[in-house]
């Protein structure tokens, strides 16, 4: 969906809010582990996005190929900025889960009534690095296409497929107790993609 930024009206923008706020909140919540913080950051996503849309509106020929991907990019950047400012390392989902369950008995995770099996999946997801975790959330919770994820992560489609494949393998490995948690793994994605293409 190609949308000319200059043509986005207030009404349309609020329509985007109605469409995407729940999912954005969920993504941010899984990244930061606090309801209040997730609320603040989600709100910030839309305010920042509107600033971008509104800036130089009259003379702008900017176009949004995918508004959803744009919002997620903004969210990702805000989360990074948040941790940078607070001088914190990002929380794992395990820490997120523990924090929320300890702080609030009736928080969103409690409301979802997650089973014991789910606890282990959540913990395993939390052991993945940020890219893996993001990609799993976007693909299987937010139901995004590879192309869209590639746009958010500013990588090629091939690179994203490789990442996703590795994320799933890692997740399975962690669940089965075969792999050590790889929190700070660096992957040479281009090498992976090149290898794949050569094959």
């Amino acid at each position: 969906m190609l949308v000319k930024v200059a043509n986005i009206t207030e009404q349309q923008f609020l329509g985007f809010y109605d469409q995407y706020s729940d999912k954005l909140y969920r993504y941010i919540y899984f990244r930061v582990g606090s309801e209040e913080l997730a609320q603040d950051l989600t709100s910030e996503v839309f305010l920042k996005s509107w600033e971008y849309v509104n800036r130089d509106k009259a003379s702008s020929n900017k176009q949004l190929a995918n508004p959803r991907a744009f919002f997620y990019q903004v969210a990702r950047n805000l989360i990074t900025d948040f941790y940078r400012q607070k001088d914190k390392s990002p929380l794992s989902l395990e820490e997120v889960a523990d924090k929320v369950i300890a702080d609030k008995q009736d928080g969103p995770l409690e409301q979802a009534a997650i089973s014991l099996d789910m606890e282990s999946v959540k913990a395993a997801l939390g052991r993945l690095n940020e890219d893996y975790r993001d990609i799993v959330i976007w693909r299987y919770l937010d139901e995004m296409e590879i192309k869209e994820i590639a746009q958010i992560m500013e990588k090629s489609d091939g690179a994203v497929r490789v990442l996703l494949s590795r994320a799933l393998s890692n997740l399975k490995g962690v669940l089965n107790g075969q792999l050590e948690p790889q929190i700070a793994e660096e992957i040479s994605v281009q090498e992976q993609v090149a290898g794949e293409e050569a094959a």
């Binding site: 109605d18 899984f30 789910m118 497929r161």
Partner: protein, 375 residues
């Protein structure tokens, strides 16, 4: 090829993927979603106003330049500038609120309007002021309903917006109904009666508005909305009856009280007369439409019920004339149940007749086409 590989790979991880997807249940609180949206809408609107203010300011500068050229020695120019700037700024804020008050569901400022109403109710210092505000809120919902019914939105959008307003009206009626017994305190009989009258008037207002809206809404009204409209009408009727019961139950009724009760009964009797005539007409009309034989008993039931309701209405009128208001109310309750049941049957009959008439029209059109083609 890569896509296919990924699909196959994902199939291998289907169990994990299914488990992950349970996390979809994590959602933000609805109250936060609404308030965040309202703040966003307000910010968007204020920025829009700021843009207009910037334009106004540049026009003001031109005005000052003109003024300066015309009256170069005027000493009160700075005071004038401050006064005008204040007027524009204050006007901007007031205009936003005013714009919000005119909005309907779907408009950016509608959440602001709702937020303003809720705040007003919370800070209302007295019960009577609160009741007045509630009356205004219901009035506002009914205005929105009228606007929405007239709008040229698509049927789907119209259904959604109307449903939102109708639900709000429903909630207000529930609040009214719940407040009625509390208002009936032994020491505050005048107050409770006044409250009952306000609630009764409001319920009648709602009933009329919903009936008018039902007539004007397009035929593609979805079944959920139809049910909701019926539910709200029913609630309005019950609230009205409960309020009337309170009015009748009051000890030591003054002449003014009796006058109010008589006026209320008069209104109800006229309304029921019309309803019964409509039912009888539907029954008569339906029996004229050629249809399958098994429909005739339904029409007969409908006509019988209309007759029975008519008899009961006569008894209500007699009781009211004798000022036996309690007895009149009891008979009225029975009458209401019969009319409600008959109206449901009438609706079914109307739908079936519509189908038969359309079928007959289609048959006639086909027959005419066949005759024309054979010539």
């Amino acid at each position: 090829m890569q896509k296919q590989n990924l699909v196959l790979e994902e199939q291998g991880f289907s169990e994990i993927i299914n488990q992950i997807q349970v996390l979809k249940n994590v959602k933000p609180k609805e109250s936060w979603v609404i308030s965040c949206r309202a703040k966003l809408a307000l910010k968007l609107e204020m920025e829009h106003k700021r843009e207009m203010l910037t334009k106004d300011a540049s026009e003001l500068r031109e005005l000052f330049t003109f003024w300066q050229a015309w009256q170069p020695k005027r000493a009160f120019r700075p005071a004038y500038a401050v006064a005008v700037a204040l007027a524009v700024v204050m006007g901007g804020g007031a205009l936003t609120s005013l714009a919000a008050l005119q909005s309907v569901p779907g408009a950016p400022l509608y959440p602001v309007k709702i937020a303003l109403e809720r705040t007003g109710l919370k800070v209302a210092p007295t019960d009577s002021l609160k009741m007045k505000m509630q009356k205004d809120i219901v009035g506002s919902r009914l205005s929105e309903l009228r606007v929405l019914v007239k709008n040229h939105d698509s049927a789907e959008v119209k259904n959604e917006k109307v449903a939102q307003v109708v639900e709000s009206i429903h909630q207000q009626l529930i609040t009214d109904k719940e407040q009625l017994p509390q208002a009936n305190k032994p020491n505050g009989s005048e107050k409770s009666l006044a409250a009952a009258k306000i609630v009764s008037a409001r319920a009648d207002q709602v009933k009329k508005a919903i009936t008018q809206a039902k007539e004007k809404l397009p035929s593609e009204v979805n079944s959920n909305l139809s049910e909701k409209l019926a539910e709200v009408t029913d609630m309005a009727e019950k609230t009205s009856m409960q309020a009337l019961e309170m009015m009748i139950a009051k000890k030591e009724q003054t002449e003014a009280d009796k006058k109010d009760i008589l006026a209320k009964f008069d209104e109800i009797i006229k309304e029921k007369e019309l309803a019964i005539k409509t039912l009888a007409a539907v029954g008569q009309q339906a029996s004229k439409v050629k249809s399958s034989a098994d429909k005739l008993p339904i029409n007969a039931v409908l006509i019988n019920q209309a007759d029975e309701a008519d008899d009961l209405l006569g008894k209500v009128e007699t009781s009211v004339k004798k000022e036996a208001f309690g007895a009149a109310l009891e008979t009225l309750k029975t009458l209401n149940e019969i009319v409600k049941g008959a109206e449901k049957i009438a609706e079914t009959v109307k739908q079936q007749d519509k189908g038969v008439i359309e079928l007959n029209s289609a048959k006639n059109a086909t027959s005419s086409a066949l005759i024309d083609s054979s010539k």
